[in-house]
Amino acid sequence: MRETVLKDVFRAVLATAAAVLLYSLAGAAGPSVLVAFNAFSVVVIYFSVRRGEVFGAFAGTACGLVQDAFSLSVFGTAGLTKTLLGFLTGYVAGRIDVSPAPRMAAFLLVVSTFELGAWVLLSWAVRQEAVGLHRGLLLVQPLVTALLGTSLFLAERRFLARRREA
């Protein structure tokens, strides 16, 4: 039991590190990329689908707080929304079959739209100010997250299938 918990903590730290790496690489490509692509969400979604809702919630907390640390926004807003994202994604993915690609894409689009909506609402509630949409680019974020997430799962599936064949 203790070993499993330690392994999960280690995995969560690795997941967060992976998110920071992705975010840093995306940032190097320009500010618009960072608006349209949230590396932390992709990582949270991936680990939530793979490891379930509890791990997803913890990974969401870790990734969200790190995202907040790299921002001037109120510390904890991304933490809370990503915790909810991780839990919701893990919970639903554990109860319905989301493995077919179109279903996976639709599912990820719904959860990432939920996350963005929750983040916008929470930011508005905390700061009493509307969140800038960056000429609508922010609205593309769930779509990008869904596409990247689906591609990630498909690539992983293909890789595992090839390894099994070999």
Binding site: L34, V35, F70, V74, L80
Partner: protein, 279 residues
């Protein structure tokens, strides 16, 4: 059966949600101050960001150095670096000339300025809104402290350093952040106001009374140094539009386009601390 066994995951979620709500609520009265926890997270993960960006730059650099332009690229880089400092010096010299018109003081300021200037590279952009902050690859070990002005390679104001400043990394609040405020003056009309960001590409010049004359579209704005953070005379932006503000009839609504561009923000200069516009 206890609740823990029955609804373990829901209890964990509830615990995490409460934790976050507490975390958010304790910040509300403290304003922009960063908590120790937030600083710790930044301290732990910012070296990772630095390593990631450094690795990418190194790979790019190796490719260019050895397979692309070899020696020419290296020389070019050195020349660019020299040009960067010359830009800064030139801009500073011009600004000082306009402000003091005293050659002796200009020379003295320039000498000190050259010694203290800290060149830095941008390794990250704000994860929630790119127009709010940046992360630099220089920290307290390099002499960076909070409230130091940051300029781009053309001498245009980018923002100021804010806490947390870690050992090797520092955060910069951009002039485009809505919580940023820079005291500026227009070049020709001597229109004085407070430049505030909108967390978007355009800033606003606030607290300019409707009765005030002067100021026209395209006019340059420079720092006054009155805020005791930014040295006087740094170019900030140009007036984009001047309108009447129906919601605040007492003031003019002046939109400003900042000069700094994200695509030229690879290298920046951190300026040493100033007192009332003087070094």
């Amino acid at each position: 059966m206890p609740l823990w066994d029955k609804r373990q995951s829901v209890v964990i979620l509830a615990g995490l949600v409460v934790f976050h709500l507490l975390l958010i609520s304790i910040q509300i009265p403290r304003g922009a101050d960063k908590s120790l926890f937030e600083k710790s997270v930044f301290f732990v993960y910012s070296p990772l960001q630095r390593a990631a960006v450094g690795a990418v730059r190194n790979v790019r650099s190796v490719w260019k150095d050895y397979f692309d332009l070899r020696g020419a690229h290296k020389e070019n880089r050195e020349l660019k670096e020299r040009l960067f400092f010359l830009h800064q010096e030139n801009r500073f010299l011009q600004d000082r000339l306009e402000l003091f018109r005293s050659e002796a003081r200009i020379r003295e300021s320039l000498e000190r300025f050259r010694d203290d200037l800290i060149p830095a590279r941008v390794i990250g952009i704000d994860s929630a809104n790119p127009y709010r902050s940046l992360v630099l690859d220089k920290g307290s070990l390099d002499g960076v402290k909070a409230n130091m002005a940051v300029c781009d390679k053309f001498g245009n104001l980018v923002g100021r350093t804010i806490g947390p400043v870690s050992l090797r990394e520092a955060m910069v609040q951009l002039v485009t952040d809505k919580e940023s405020s820079v005291n500026v003056m227009s070049e020709k009309g001597r229109l004085v106001g407070s430049l505030t960001g909108t967390s978007g590409p355009i800033c606003e010049l606030r607290y300019v009374l409707a009765s005030t004359t002067g100021g026209e579209e395209g006019e340059e704005l420079r720092t006054t140094g009155h805020d005791r953070i930014y040295p006087a005379g740094i170019r900030v932006g140009a007036i984009r539009s001047i309108e009447k503000d129906p919601s605040l009839p007492l003031f003019r609504k002046i939109r400003v386009r900042p000069f700094f561009q994200f695509n030229t923000l690879d290298a920046v200069a951190v300026l040493p601390q100033v007192q009332g516009g003087e070094k």
